[in-house]
């Protein structure tokens, strides 16, 4: 599956938070709401690159017995339930080492995984994983940060899939503002990158998406969504349809700027076609839910 594109919306979920079955439901909602790629986070006991929101979600998911092999198998289950968009496994390095690098890629292949992102595996340590990724066609997504400076060229020139730009110093989380230098940083990265450039860390509002959109090929939204899941957690566990609907509306307003959709004003014609085409390949239930939401958006018009 292709990871490329423009105006990509890349949501992040923690596998197993609050329950593996709910993660599948949420993935289907994200797909229907216009997600282009799904980042599926593997919970870890010591998530060094993550802020409090994802730390808490990881703890919840670990309590559900989530592990790296189970998270990869969850991707496989998503495929069976109708998730068609590319899935990237986001995991810290240690679980990969314990599973074994080769076994990791074999299991990922078997379960329809399209990419892997390892936040604590910098370029210098990544050669074996990049090689295995190339062999199995499951690229290792590289990251560049505002501190990367002269490292950008080296990393960008080797990037596979897409290149992930860390928006600002710090760990994952919800930030009110992004640094002013971000546009310069993105411009520099784009100059060296042969693959799409996406931005993540701190993005939590549609206004931020609107501002970033002209400067990159996509945005990653993690903590903001995970926080929404946390908020809805009890209701999601009780399989409340309203909770999924609320999640979907939340996602739609984040995606709207990327689709030239005025969320409060309605969906543009070409976007409606695009969604219809997307929904076409989904399960019957999903199509029903998909059109329901589209109608709801239109009703506000």
């Amino acid at each position: 599956m292709q990871l490329s594109g423009t105006n990509m919306f890349i949501p992040f979920l923690v596998a197993g938070d609050p329950h593996p079955d709910v993660t599948i439901e949420l993935a289907l909602v994200l797909q229907a709401a216009g997600a282009d790629v799904l980042e599926l986070g593997v919970p870890y006991s010591d998530p060094l690159a993550d802020g409090p929101i994802i730390q808490r979600a990881s703890a919840r998911a670990l309590k559900q017995g989530m592990t790296l092999p189970r998270a990869i198998q969850l991707a496989g289950k998503m495929r069976k339930k109708g998730v068609k968009i590319p899935i990237i496994i986001f995991t810290y390095y240690n679980p990969v080492l314990q599973l074994g690098k080769e076994s990791f890629f074999a299991l990922a292949k078997e379960n329809g995984v399209d990419g892997v992102l390892i936040p604590d595996l910098p370029f210098e340590e990544s050669e074996p994983i990049r090689r295995l990724g190339a062999e199995t066609n499951i690229p290792l997504i590289s990251l560049v940060a505002p501190t990367s400076k002269e490292r950008i060229e080296k990393i960008a020139s080797q990037a596979q899939g897409f290149l992930y730009c860390v928006s600002s110093l710090g760990v994952t989380g919800v930030r009110d503002t992004l640094p002013e230098e971000i546009h310069e940083f993105l411009a520099e990265v784009k100059q060296y990158s042969r693959v799409p450039v996406v931005v993540g860390f701190g993005i939590s509002k549609s206004e931020q998406v609107q501002v970033l959109k002209a400067h990159c090929d996509g945005v990653v939204v993690g903590s903001a969504l995970v926080q929404k899941v946390e908020e809805l957690s009890d209701r999601l566990l009780q399989q409340e349809q309203h909770a999924l609907d609320e999640f979907r509306r939340y996602v739609e307003q984040l995606v709207a700027p990327l689709r030239d959709v005025d969320f409060y004003g309605g969906v543009k014609e070409d976007e409606r076609e695009k969604r219809a085409a997307r929904a076409h390949s989904l399960s019957a239930g999903e199509v029903a839910r998909g059109s329901e939401a589209a109608i709801r958006v239109d009703e506000r018009h």
Partner: protein, 403 residues
């Protein structure tokens, strides 16, 4: 010839830099600054000046005559790191790193601490060199080590409680690294042990090797020969690396002592080399305590300073090549050594150091009288007396009545 780490920060398979991309350039900057500093005689002179004038080095080498007589075996020597300013070997490294931070133009220090010894050392040098200092400490350790928390505050440091995980050293280290990721432009992260990503294990070794260098010279002067056995306790392992580094090329038996807690066959221990498996923790590939899925397991020890699920990558390497033997000592054995050393030699050791002492006593007993055993007494036990009183006498009211 022993020449590790290589330019990638590897000690054989171990070590390396497993950190978020944001930290790679800051690490490269520290690496460059460190190499320049180590090659600069004036930096060395400044470091030695502060060790002498401020920390009181060289520390004494004490012949443990009473214990030697009672054990009726090898002659026992204590390298007295407890006599350093702030009461432990941690200050050697804190001075070195503070001078490096100064050289790099950084005036804000970040530190993590378990028992509080490194936190106190960091806060101390920050005060001395006019720097700001923020110390991350697990909430559980804050409760266990209230006195050290007060010390750090007295020294002007900000102590930040950490509520994640088991709220101990591992979690404090995670949080310190997270804070560093956000503030790497103007903060210097001062790690307290030979752990973390390259160049930290090497840097801390270079700032701790003074322990072994001094001890070797002192013992040669006293005994006219090298020790037969050198013993040191290992949590992250900085006092042990500092001690061992000077003897790696010699025909000397080296023994690292880990915390066996309630026993290495129970789940309650911190014996990382003995029981751990290869993996990545805090930016370094080393041995660690983990489950089959790579989730890190919380360690246990009576000693907050040995209560760490990983170990310095150089120790992992030294174990893998068989140059150092790693053994373990239980809470109970350490407590016995703690009391015996106090009563017999008039020295109250840190409970961490008591682990090394317990093993050293064992070894000395089995050796001939013309052999010598050198043990690193890494810190003093003042910080532990209250906790030990609870352990030894039961409830505190009890202790008061009995006394």
């Amino acid at each position: 010839m022993y020449n590790v780490p290589n330019e990638n920060g590897r000690f054989g398979d171990f070590g390396g830099k497993f950190v978020p991309e944001t930290l790679m350039r800051p690490l490269e900057e520290i690496e460059r600054a460190l190499e320049q500093a180590l090659a600069d005689a004036s930096f060395r002179a400044e470091y030695m000046h502060h060790l002498r004038e401020y920390s009181g080095r060289p520390t004494a080498l004490t012949f443990a005559e009473n214990i030697t007589n009672e054990l009726n075996g090898a002659r026992l020597y204590f390298k007295r790191e407890d006599l350093n300013h702030t009461g432990a070997h941690k200050i050697n490294n804190a001075i070195g790193q503070a001078l490096l931070a100064k050289r790099m133009g950084k005036k804000k220090l970040i530190a993590e601490t378990g028992a509080g010894q490194h936190g106190v050392a960091a806060a101390t040098v920050a005060a001395r060199f006019g720097m700001e200092c923020i110390v991350f400490m697990g909430e559980e350790d804050i409760k266990r080590q209230a006195l050290n928390v007060f010390r750090m505050k007295l020294l002007g440091a900000q102590v930040v409680p950490v509520f994640s995980g088991n709220r101990t050293l591992k979690d404090a280290t995670n949080e310190a690294i997270r804070y560093w990721v956000q503030h790497c432009d103007d903060h210097f992260y001062m790690i307290g042990s030979v752990v973390g990503p390259h160049p930290y294990p090497k840097m801390v070794r270079e700032f701790q090797r003074i322990i072994g260098d001094e001890a070797k010279e002192q013992l040669l002067e006293r005994e006219g020969k090298l020790p037969d056995v050198v013993v040191a306790c290992v949590g992250g392992g900085s006092n042990a690396i500092g001690m061992f580094s000077s003897f790696l090329a010699d025909d000397v038996e080296l023994v690292g002592v880990e915390a066996a807690g309630k026993g290495v066959d129970t789940p309650h221990h911190a014996a990382t080399v003995t029981k751990g498996t290869k993996g990545v923790i805090h930016g370094s590939l080393t041995y660690l305590l983990q489950d089959e899925y790579g989730q890190i397991i919380e360690p246990y020890s009576i000693s907050a300073g040995l209560d760490y699920p990983g170990v310095g990558p150089e120790h992992a390497y030294l174990a893998s090549i068989g140059r150092v033997r790693y053994e373990s000592v239980t809470d109970e054995e350490a407590l016995a050594a703690f009391q015996w050393t106090a009563k017999t030699e008039g020295i109250i050791p840190a409970i961490e150091s008591a682990h090394a002492l317990a093993k050293a006593f064992d070894i000395a007993k089995q050796r001939a009288k013309d052999e010598t055993v050198l043990v690193c007494l890494s810190g003093r036990g003042d910080k532990d007396v209250q906790a030990m009183m609870h352990y030894l006498e039961g409830a505190s009211e009890h202790a008061v009545i009995r006394n």
